[in-house]
Symmetry: C2
Subunit: 209 residues, 2 copies
């Protein structure tokens, strides 16, 4: 597939577009106007047009978008043809919720294995995902050639586990712990900070209305 | 407290700074250099300086930041003097994880009440938060003067519940459902899209290394 130069902000919206076209296809819709699309994904239509312009001529002006080819395009773009296997470390409440979260419903992502150090849950399965001893982390990640890990361990343990993940060859970490982690520049970290999201929303409400 | 004009990107980093100064105080640190701060929060120091510049002269050049006054400043700025009460709707796996997530550890946020329509859990408490029938949503939110809701219902129900929340007077929604919701312009929605986060991380890894 062609490689495009695309701004990060656009990249972050691609899964959203992909998912919405999937939703339209599942609802047997054949076409959608740019106004409807903007309304549905809550992105203004100028931004959508700019986003799509990075990929050449997607959609016709004044006509809207045909669902099937758009879906096919985003599927290819996001490598939805292959399934990405990820690991999860830390099967507490949040880890447990993510194991039960149906990533594969909207994206070709599968949590292949989970790790925890609690002997009471090691050996069990959640939503068909086996939970292994954290001691097996490096070995398993290397054997299964897993590139991406979800980090849901408590904050005070996050950096230590991140170091182990990097050591094991992980290239991307989705970090849910509230403190930031350091990794070498070759490892990409995306932070999902739930308390931060809530705090920011509250700050906006208190100050901008 | 003074009202500042601050870019959204800066606002989103404020809780991160706040939390890190809290962490430093808890670790009995008195001072931190701007290099250390940049490393710890994973934001480059030019951005930190620009962020702080919106609030006048925070910290001295070449000296770094004193923990105590910085913490006090961010506490006031983020209204950490008062506790924000929020509601949660949808006590599935993710809702359950959020109820057990200790928001109050790092932020003065408290989930005051949760709603679900499953009779098997209505009347129970999770982490001391009572679970009420979704039918009581409007009444409870009005009585308890709650402004902010966390939405963790299944995607196919999200818009309906969002409409009910708006009707009940909610001003801010933290939306975890994978499809976007529409609300009137007076209601602020922040989306946390877990599959999207993971997908974006994988896309970056596949295309930019």
């Amino acid at each position: 597939m062609k490689q495009y130069k695309i701004p990060n902000a656009t990249i972050k919206r691609l899964p959203l577009y992909h998912r919405y076209f999937q939703f339209l296809k599942d609802s047997d819709k054949k076409k959608i106007s740019s106004t409807e699309l903007a309304e549905a994904v809550q992105v203004d239509s100028a931004t959508i047009r700019r986003d799509f312009s990075y990929f050449g001529s997607l959609g016709k002006r004044g006509y809207g978008y045909e669902v099937e080819p758009m879906l096919e395009f985003f599927k290819k773009l996001l490598n939805q043809d292959k399934t990405s296997q990820v690991a999860l470390v830390g099967v507490g409440n949040l880890g447990n919720a993510l194991l039960n979260y149906n990533f594969s419903q909207t994206n070709n992502i599968k949590i292949a294995v989970a790790f925890d150090k609690n002997p009471q849950i090691i050996g069990q399965k959640i939503n068909d995902v086996p939970i292994l001893d954290t001691e097996k982390l490096a070995e398993t990640i290397q054997n299964q050639e897993i590139d991406v890990a979800i980090l849901t361990v408590p904050a005070n343990n996050a950096q230590k586990v991140a170091d182990e993940l990097v050591q094991a060859g992980i290239k991307g970490i989705l970090n849910f712990s509230p403190l930031r982690i350091s990794t070498p520049p070759t490892v990409r970290v995306h932070n999902v900070d739930l308390a931060n999201e809530l705090q920011t929303l509250i700050y906006f409400l208190d100050n901008y209305r």
